[in-house]
């Protein structure tokens, strides 16, 4: 698989009355063609800002202060607005948590969908309408011939998210950025949408960057996971590695704090004590230090990323120590 998107040292800050809030503090990762990759994190971890920064879709008080985000070698962060607009929706599409705000309430669903199709594929009006109906059918909307002439408010939340997916994928993007696409939905609908999203993207070969706070969603949908905390990537690896052999104390804590049942035994939950750091004055060392049960004075300095095995890296002095031990053992 070739590399589709590579993000390098992305930094995004929000300038508020109280000062600079460093939401994303140097994030680097890459996405391969056809890959489903997830970013998990709690609120304030910077996961959503990272996703929005890729397309320069952050609100005016925010500013990308550094880094690169290269899509097939073209840096999206330095691209003129005019050219970036062509990238958005064409090569990179995005869906959000609340589909109601992304759909225009005064236009029919069909009008919005055909507009996208006509702009990107230069189809005739009749042809575009047929194509739109076909897309609605593909995303599982019953009787699309009738639904196409209805307005967004006549659709339920799940149905609107389906429409958004249809709009996003109809222009055959290389990358779909999905920012908490199922958070507002009920579990049974969430399961439907996730199944739809993964199936469609697998058949079209679209890469997906899925932003979520739900570890279950990531485990079910993605092949690779990025764990973010305090504006930094704490750990990155395949889902199998992250869920069965987590390296970072934060990831471990996160996994322990979700209830797991073994037959007949009620286990007490193990929460991570404390609350996330204030990014107005982020600690210069490890952002998780304050809440980490294994913190030491070493953590006042930010550790380097170390791979515990190829493709599985984490940002923790413990990983550094384990790695050097292993190397010594080899010698």
């Amino acid at each position: 698989m070739t590399e589709l998107l590579s993000v390098d040292q992305l930094r995004t800050s929000f300038f508020t009355r109280d000062g600079e809030v460093q939401a994303v503090r140097g994030v680097s990762f890459s996405i391969k063609e056809g890959e489903l990759i997830g970013i998990v994190g709690e609120s304030g971890s910077g996961k959503s800002v990272t996703a929005k920064s890729l397309l320069r879709l952050i609100p005016p008080s925010g500013q990308i202060v550094g880094g690169q985000s290269k899509l097939r070698g073209v840096d999206l962060l330095s691209l003129p607005e005019e050219k970036l607009r062509k990238v958005r929706g064409h090569q990179v599409a995005m869906i959000f948590q609340d589909p109601m705000t992304s759909l225009n309430p005064v236009l029919t669903v069909g009008a919005q969908l055909t507009e996208v199709l006509r702009r990107h594929q230069k189809l005739s009006r009749r042809h575009a309408r047929q194509e739109a109906i076909e897309w609605l059918r593909q995303v599982g909307i019953p009787s699309p011939e009738i639904r196409i002439d209805q307005y967004p408010h006549e659709f339920s939340g799940g149905m609107r998210q389906r429409v958004m997916i249809a709009m996003a994928l109809s222009c055959k993007p290389d990358l779909l950025v999905a920012d908490e696409p199922t958070t507002a939905l009920d579990v049974t609908i969430q399961a439907q949408i996730l199944a739809l999203l993964t199936n469609l993207c697998k058949t079209t070969g679209t890469s997906v960057l899925l932003i979520t706070h739900d570890l279950g969603v990531v485990a079910q949908v993605c092949s690779r996971v990025i764990v973010m905390y305090g504006g930094l990537i704490m750990e990155e690896g395949t889902v199998e590695d992250i869920f069965s052999a987590p390296q970072h104390p934060y990831t471990k804590g996160l996994l322990r704090s979700i209830p797991r049942m073994r037959e007949g035994r009620r286990e007490r939950l193990v929460p991570i004590e404390g609350s996330p750091p204030n990014l107005l004055n982020p600690p210069s060392g490890c952002p998780f230090m304050e809440r980490c049960p294994q913190a030491s004075s070493e953590c006042l300095i930010l550790p380097p990323y170390v791979e515990s095995k190829p493709g599985h890296r984490s940002l923790c002095w413990l990983t550094v120590a384990r790695k050097s031990e292993r190397q010594e053992g080899l010698q």
Binding site: E42, S156, Q192, A219, F243, P259, R266, L269, P271, I272
Partner: protein, 338 residues
């Protein structure tokens, strides 16, 4: 506190005889449309003929998707509004027809924690004022005693003495929920309605709050009605669980029994839809529920789940199933279990 003592406490709860709270045939209808002369023409049956009971010291979970009536049920139980019909018996006394004055002694015993940590605390009051409010109404504390009691409560929920003079916006979501908890136990209640208390919190903080609720239950002998849509958390905290669908209770059982042997097709689908945080256990995509909720306003005859049910038969369209006992302590409303 060890896991063992937790389990023992729960065991005792199950053997209790008369339930603390018994809800019989509860119904709450909302008027959607009125004719010109004030006659009700369209009705939303938010809760329709729901019965269950909660034992002293027990946690009863109520789950279901948004709009299923679980919150309305909870709010009816603590009489946040007048109910349409049915009985709500607290220690055998029916609260359903009481007015606010008659309810007052029960208000002290029945408390609530709500979902949104941002709107459940009055932004204009500091923590001291917030927590001492129920004390002013019931406690009979003097001013200085009240302050001591508030500080004691704050420390009990893991906050500090100096937090007493701060305002809600200075706290994180998890801390606010702790303040809500301190406030709800201030009057010394027996029963606490937990209306989605963790849904708005981050995963790592949810566990803190759930542990705290469990500890307080142990210590103070509290009884919970725990409402949530996060099924794995409900399973963790509840002794028994009720599943609601479109205003109806479709299944009630002990939590382990419910998760291992779901009897109602809706429960089965609901459980299948939980994304499991383990990449090795894949979701059973073949059991995913198709379709969406039908409109709750059009009253249809028969089983309300039949439009999405893989096992629906002709009978389901003609006759509405009622809750029937299918195993000890396990009830389901489905024609499959006849």
């Amino acid at each position: 506190m060890s896991d063992n003592s937790l389990l023992e406490g729960r065991g005792q709860a199950r053997t209790g005889k008369t339930p603390l709270l018994e809800v019989r045939r509860l119904a709450k209808h909302f008027t959607i449309e009125k004719s010109l002369f004030g006659r009700t023409t369209k009705v939303l049956k938010a809760v329709d003929d729901v019965s269950f009971h909660i034992h002293r010291g027990e946690t009863f979970g109520l789950v279901g998707e948004s709009g299923c009536g679980k919150s309305t049920t909870g709010r009816s139980v603590i009489r946040l509004f007048d109910i349409t019909s049915g009985e709500i018996c607290y220690e055998g006394i029916d609260l359903a027809g009481m007015n606010e004055r008659q309810l007052k002694p029960y208000r002290q015993k029945m408390q609530a924690i709500f979902q949104d940590p941002y709107s459940s605390l009055n932004p204009g009051m500091n923590v001291m004022e917030l927590i001492s409010e129920p004390l002013e109404i019931y406690g009979g504390y003097s001013r200085s005693n009240r302050r001591d009691r508030v500080i004691e409560l704050l420390e009990r929920v893991g906050l500090k003495r100096e937090h007493a003079d701060r305002y809600p916006h200075e706290f994180s979501g998890g801390q606010r929920q702790r303040i809500s908890i301190a406030r709800s136990i201030a009057s010394g209640p027996e029963f606490v309605l937990c209306d989605e208390p963790i849904s708005a919190l981050d995963v790592s903080v949810q566990a803190q709050v759930v542990n705290m609720l469990e500890d307080l239950q142990q210590e103070l002998g509290l009884t919970y009605l725990f409402i949530a849509h996060d099924l794995s958390m409900v399973r963790h905290i509840s002794n028994r669980i009720g599943v609601m669908y479109m205003g109806k209770l479709v299944e009630v059982s002990f939590s382990e029994e419910l998760y291992t042997h779901p009897a109602h097709p809706y429960t089965e689908a609901l459980l299948a839809a939980i994304p499991i945080p383990d990449p090795k256990v894949l979701m059973p995509t073949d059991r995913l529920l198709q379709g969406e909720l039908p409109s709750p306003i059009d009253a249809a005859i028969g089983c309300k789940f039949r439009s999405r049910c893989p096992y629906a038969s002709r009978r389901c369209g003609e006759e509405e199933p009622v809750l029937k006992r299918i195993a000890p302590g396990h009830y389901a409303a489905c024609h499959l279990h006849e």
